[in-house]
């Protein structure tokens, strides 16, 4: 029997505000426990929440980037539950009037385009973090009240690979929109995974399970591979799938049942009386729409058209906004944008990955790369020297022209000098000369190499070749 898989994700994206959703407490990561707290986020009696306007703005920007309808009227609701990670005993969220409805994310899977539908995006506050000791649990409320966008997808995802592609694409869009730092290590993107399988002959979706609180994309992928297999096995052996919440155990590589899901009704949502509705007029929305950044997909097309890059290269560059920004900065200052791309696609990415660095960590400025390309294009340095200078720039930064001058790396293009060295190479290597003349044209390369060695690699290889040919063939 073949089975169809339906996966829907609920992705929590932390917005990049400096203060919390409803109070002025800091949102920075890594502070000592309970140092970013105040009477509002601790739920002290008599306090009132006030909305952070940037959190609203960023959520709308995210919605516009995903093609959502932005609600002209939106409100907040209380989601009641009793758990010590929320000191108010309710979480402020949005129930029936979220900020954004609908939308989609395009993904590419095995070279094919696919669209994953977005159901809605709502805004809510994060909860506290608990740690468990023997007999007691400790709670840190630094995270409580940090604005989180919850992006809910349609059950359009049909494999672990698609889920992974979706998350990567979503992260890319959020980074381009500058609505979130998307730092996974700091828990900026967390995800609940809903998954069901059904025999291909059945049209109704199967019973779903929910895997809670995944904080790495790899984890989502691995958990889905396991969960899909588990559900198929269960159906094959005639078992019933229970609607339940499961937890991914990355060490054991399995999902484990947590609790039978309480029905939605149990949260007893009702309108948050302490917050007034958000009413966005179309002028405001259009003003924000006009300021939207270019998306990776559009940028890729533009790179191909504007800078004459191959589509593949443009795709690699735009994958990472920082890399694409760096490229553009350098390309703007260069007459040879294709060469800039070649350096970035090869040496730059290689050195970054070898040394485990981010683009932001290196001293080399985009203008230095543009300068290096200029030195190569004007034949001031040859390509092997250029690689050497690139290495220096990568490690220490600086002005490439200055480095070339200081280290005496300029190409030797002096024909008289090269002429002498070519003669010497011919005298020193009679065997290669003989090989060449008896038809082994490759022997010329060896002789070019000898001259390059005599100039410590600085000779203009083209010139050396020409001189050699004239002498050997003449």
């Amino acid at each position: 029997m073949n089975y169809l898989v339906s996966i829907g994700l609920e992705v929590h994206v932390q917005l990049r505000t400096v203060s919390k959703m409803f109070c002025g407490c800091a949102t920075g990561f890594g502070a000592p426990p309970n140092t970013h707290v105040c009477p509002v986020c601790l739920g002290y009696p008599g306090t009132l929440p006030v909305m952070n306007q940037d959190a609203i703005h960023y959520t709308v920007v995210a919605g516009l980037l995903l093609g959502s309808n932005i609600s002209d009227y939106s409100k907040f609701d209380r989601k009641s539950y009793f758990y010590p990670d929320m000191p108010k005993n309710y979480q402020i969220s949005q129930y029936d009037r979220p900020l954004c409805d609908g939308g989609s994310v395009d993904i590419e899977i095995d070279g094919l385009q696919k669209q994953i539908g977005i159901t809605r995006i709502h805004l809510e506050e994060d909860v506290g973090k608990s740690t468990h000791f023997s007999g007691k649990s400790g709670v840190d409320f630094n995270r409580a009240g940090i604005p989180l966008m919850e992006i809910v997808t349609e059950p359009d995802i049909t494999s672990a690979d698609e889920a992974m592609s979706f998350l990567v694409a979503l992260k890319q869009i959020m980074l381009y929109g500058e609505v979130s730092g998307c730092n996974l290590e700091e828990g900026n993107m967390r995800c609940d995974v809903n998954c069901s399988v059904r025999p291909e002959t059945q049209s109704r979706l199967g019973t779903k399970t929910e895997i809670k609180n995944m904080n790495t994309f790899k984890g989502v992928h691995a958990a889905l591979l396991y969960e899909i297999d588990r559900q198929v096995q269960a159906l094959e052996s005639g078992e019933q799938i229970l609607q339940e919440t499961r937890r991914w155990d990355p060490d054991a590589g399995i999902t484990i049942q947590m609790r039978v899901k309480e029905s939605e009704h149990d949260y007893r949502y009702f309108p948050e009386p302490d917050l007034m509705p958000v009413v966005l007029d179309s002028d405001k929305i259009e003003e924000w729409r006009a300021q939207l950044p270019e998306l990776p997909r559009e940028r890729r097309t533009r790179f191909v058209e504007q800078y004459g890059l191959p589509d593949y290269d443009a795709g690699i560059l735009v994958e990472d906004k920082a890399l694409a920004d760096y490229y553009e900065e350098a390309a703007k200052q260069s007459a040879n944008p294709k060469a800039i791309s070649n350096w970035m696609m090869t040496e730059m990415l290689r050195l970054l990955s070898e040394r485990g660095l981010e683009l932001g960590d290196i001293a080399m400025k985009p203008e230095s790369l543009a300068g290096l390309v200029k030195l190569t294009d004007s034949n001031t340095i040859n390509s092997s020297t250029a690689r050497e200078v690139f290495g220096i720039l990568f490690a220490e930064g600086g002005d490439p022209a200055h480095i070339v001058k200081e280290k005496g790396l300029a190409q030797v293009g002096d024909s008289d000098l090269l002429d002498k060295l070519v003669k010497q190479a011919i005298l020193d290597n009679p065997r290669s000369v003989e090989d060449y003349r008896s038809g082994k044209k490759a022997a010329a390369q060896f002789l070019v190499g000898q001259v390059m060695r005599l100039t410590k690699g600085k000779a203009n290889p083209k010139l050396v070749q020409d001189l050699l040919r004239t002498k050997l063939d003449g």
Binding site: H132, G135, M276
Partner: protein, 100 residues
């Protein structure tokens, strides 16, 4: 645990108590049952109003878009916070073990 009575006319006190993590004995349940129903009856008066043609609203006043700028402000210091809690260690508020 599911409520066997999701009907709003009658409150399932033991179910609501379970959701609120309250442990009530039988007598308490009975006593709250009466009290809560009285309260509900009182509030139910509002349904006698004719609301034909009136848009539902979440708020009684027509104020909207009350925002603050995204600016950081100092909060409480930790000693104060921990002092206000029933139990704590050096850094965290302590609660009965909650892992499931």
């Amino acid at each position: 645990m599911q409520s066997d009575n999701q009907n709003v006319d009658r409150i399932d006190v033991s179910y609501v108590a379970h959701l609120a993590r309250l442990h009530l004995d039988k007598e308490e349940i009975e006593s709250f049952q009466g009290q809560l129903e009285e309260t509900l009856d009182y509030v139910r008066k509002i349904s006698e109003l004719d609301v034909e043609g009136i848009e539902p609203t979440a708020h009684a006043v027509s104020v909207q878009n009350v925002f603050r700028a995204d600016e950081e402000r100092p909060g409480l210091n930790r000693e104060q916070v921990l002092e206000n809690s029933p139990a704590h260690n050096e850094e965290q508020i302590l609660v009965p073990k909650i892992i499931e």
